[in-house]
Amino acid sequence: MPNITPILDVVARARKRMLLGQLMGSLGRVTLWAGVALAVVSVATKIVAGWWSPAGERGIWFFVLVGVAMGGIALWSYLTRPNTQGDVAVASVIDVRLKLHDRLSTAVAVAERSDPFARAAIEDGLKIARDRRIMEALGRAIPIEAPRNWWAGPTLVIIACAVWWFVPGLSLGNAQASAAQSEGELQAARDAAKIQIDTLQAKIETNPELSKALGDGGDEKKLGGDLTDEKLQSPESVRRETTRQVNEVSKKLDELLAGEKAQQLEAMKDALSRIEPSKSGPLKDLGEALKRGDGAAAKSALAKLAEQVKDGKMDEKSRAELAKKLAEMAAQLNDAAKANDALKKALENAGLDGALAKNPQAAKAAIDAAKNLNEAQKKALKEAVQSQAKANEKLEKLANACESMSSQCKSGGKKSDNSEGKSSKSGEASEGSAAGSAEGANEAAEVLSEMETLNELMKDAESARSQCQSTGADPSEKLGSSGMNAGRGKGMLGERTKEKTDTATRTRKEKVQSTGGDVIARQLVEAPPVVGESRATLQQLSGEIGHGYEEGTEEDPVPANLRELHKHYFGDLKKKIDAKSGQAAPVTAPDAAPPQK
């Protein structure tokens, strides 16, 4: 039998190339079918919600597993392929592709024959197989390349993934499966809401005062309670209810942080910051603590001081010195109580006399009488007056305590020295002074305790509000509802009522009777814009305009190049207003000139 090894080598090489090509083709087909299957599954999942939904990480793992499975199938089918490609068949493929006139395949087919024609055919085949060019030609004739439509499979897989993750479900049909899926999502939403509510509740309950302050309306008891309500049957409604409840708490915290207690604390701190503490001596700690507004430290320092005074162990000089310092601090506290700077400024901003700050009753009366303030502004101002009054009262108590201790120091301290032969009258006076000092110290300690409590309350309220904001409270709800400006810009007409929405409690303006007049002015306010009609008369407005003009030109003179323009503008405006109201202008701009046409 002739040796046809060179032919078989060519055949073996061609077979390898063909198998690799087949493997790539198989991979292409497997990918295509996988893509089709995934696309069908993805679309079906989107059309029939809950039919099958490995969401999130499970989805990724699902796709990974599908990919691995497809790769495994392709490899397995390659490794276990039936070996149908015999030598003659492979050689025949080479012959056909290289147009060799079946020389190789004939040589392989007749390899076992010994007749001269067969031997001649084998020699022909060997001659071709030994030609070096055959291997190069083989690479061209049997290329190892990806299938023509190899991109179709990966494209389908990508589309399937995109549909899976980015296309929202249509929830058509299969209501039961959909309900099961919804139940799972609902429970997940309830769990998430519970975690948020519990965190906020824990934050509030760290301070009993804060809990008490927020519980005035009793709403805090419902915090998280409505989440299991039968009406809340969708994750979205649970989230909305959670947001609404957190907004409620946030609003209350806002009110607390802008309320009377906060203003009172602020006024006290403001007043105490004016104190000039002694740089040495026994009053140093107390003075510094008061200046910082640190109630706890001040209380401690005061107790220590009261103990020193009570012991009476100080020498005469030290007592005299301490008495002097205490008297000075009492004077400073009295001065601070009388300063009322913040209130004075607020009153002046509201167009009232700043001196009214010294007399709360008169200030309240003046606020009531003020026509340029709306009800909310009046209320805010009255609260400020009230807070200032309370702060002053407490400052006075502190001052009294200092004065009492000063007196006790002057009188010699504790009444334990009767045995030393002093007169009984002197002893009684000393006893009275000590009793007064102790009472003053107690009052001061109470004031400082209250101050510290308020400090803690505000700090915890601020922390809870931050928690609310991080939980998702609507920050726009806080606009226009804090500080001394609370209530401003809410319009002058109608009472505001609270309206419960899906996510929050919003302030809604009540409808009022319209007088049918033109909208003549709008004002930018620090709050959601409220647009309405004014009932102010034109005459009143023209007076205000004229007044504003006078003030403006006095306080901030108009530049020379704009003066004429200024005059003409206000002059024209005034004339038009007067013409509209049909009256002679009661108030005229002093420098207004007739318009030049």
């Binding site: 149908t84 068949a89 056909v96 147009k99 395949s105 087919a109 031997r119």
Partner: protein, 344 residues
Amino acid sequence: MSTAVNDLETVESVRKACADFRLVADRLRQEIGRVLVGQAEVVGQVLIALFADGHVLLEGVPGLGKTLLVRTLGQALGLKFSRIQFTPDLMPADILGTQIVVDDPLTGQRDFKFRQGPIFAQILLADEINRASPKSQSALLEAMQERSVTVGGETRRLERPFLVLATQNPIEQEGTYPLPEAQLDRFLLKIIINYAQRDDLAKIIDRTTGSIAADAQTKAVLTAAEIAEAQKLVRVVLVAPHVQDYAVRLVLATHPGGEWGVPELERMIVVGSSPRGAQSLILAAKVRAILAGRCAVSTQDIAALACAALRHRIVRSFEAEAAGLTCDGIISEIVRLVPAEAQE
């Protein structure tokens, strides 16, 4: 042919025999070319049929040189040549010969003596064969298949080689008798003769219309013995099993409704090729392989001769005719669709 087929024992002797074969064929081709201008492919196919010991049906419009080709071939081969012009009144006896009464002057007795017809030749030109009646056409059946003639109960062998070259005109259908399938099947190849090309036509005009008409005399360049030896060599040419299988698959593909039929063409064929089709394919392919310098048949040889060997063996359906699909079109489609690679 210097190398006898029986002496082929070595590869070199095979190669030499094949080379001699090619030389003979080239000689013959050149001799024919001296008379016949162009039509190289037709000449090549006629030679294939000659060496394959098969008959040829030439089809072409008048004036393309069919008769000239056959006459020239007969002259170049140095064989006995006869020509029969088929006409509607041609009788079988006019072809085969007849018994005639002969007076013996010596004895004064009368006796029947067989007078040979024109069929008793080695190269027979059956000109316009479709003009004769089926009865006369069928007179050729035995001669073509058995190479013998039976007249008056006596069978007479025809001298080998015996080659029938029939011609027919495809356009004149009136007064003609299409050959029956049995007769067609006996032709090894059906060769279509097309119009001459521009250069060939110019040469033809030069040779036939000049002042001195070319009167080329064809010499006999091949003897009957050489032809017989060449035909023997063809029989031993190697056909690998998978190549033969390709020929078989091609023939089976012409069978409507068969296992190997081409679904797209099933409704286009009424009758498929007989086994003679496969035999013709292989024989003709063998000759083609030797002429191409190979000593083994390839699938390309078979594909190249598929139309010539099969076109007269299949019957188109009315649907195919209505669709304008010719037999050649059907066979070409089969060749395109049946894979040439070995099928295991």
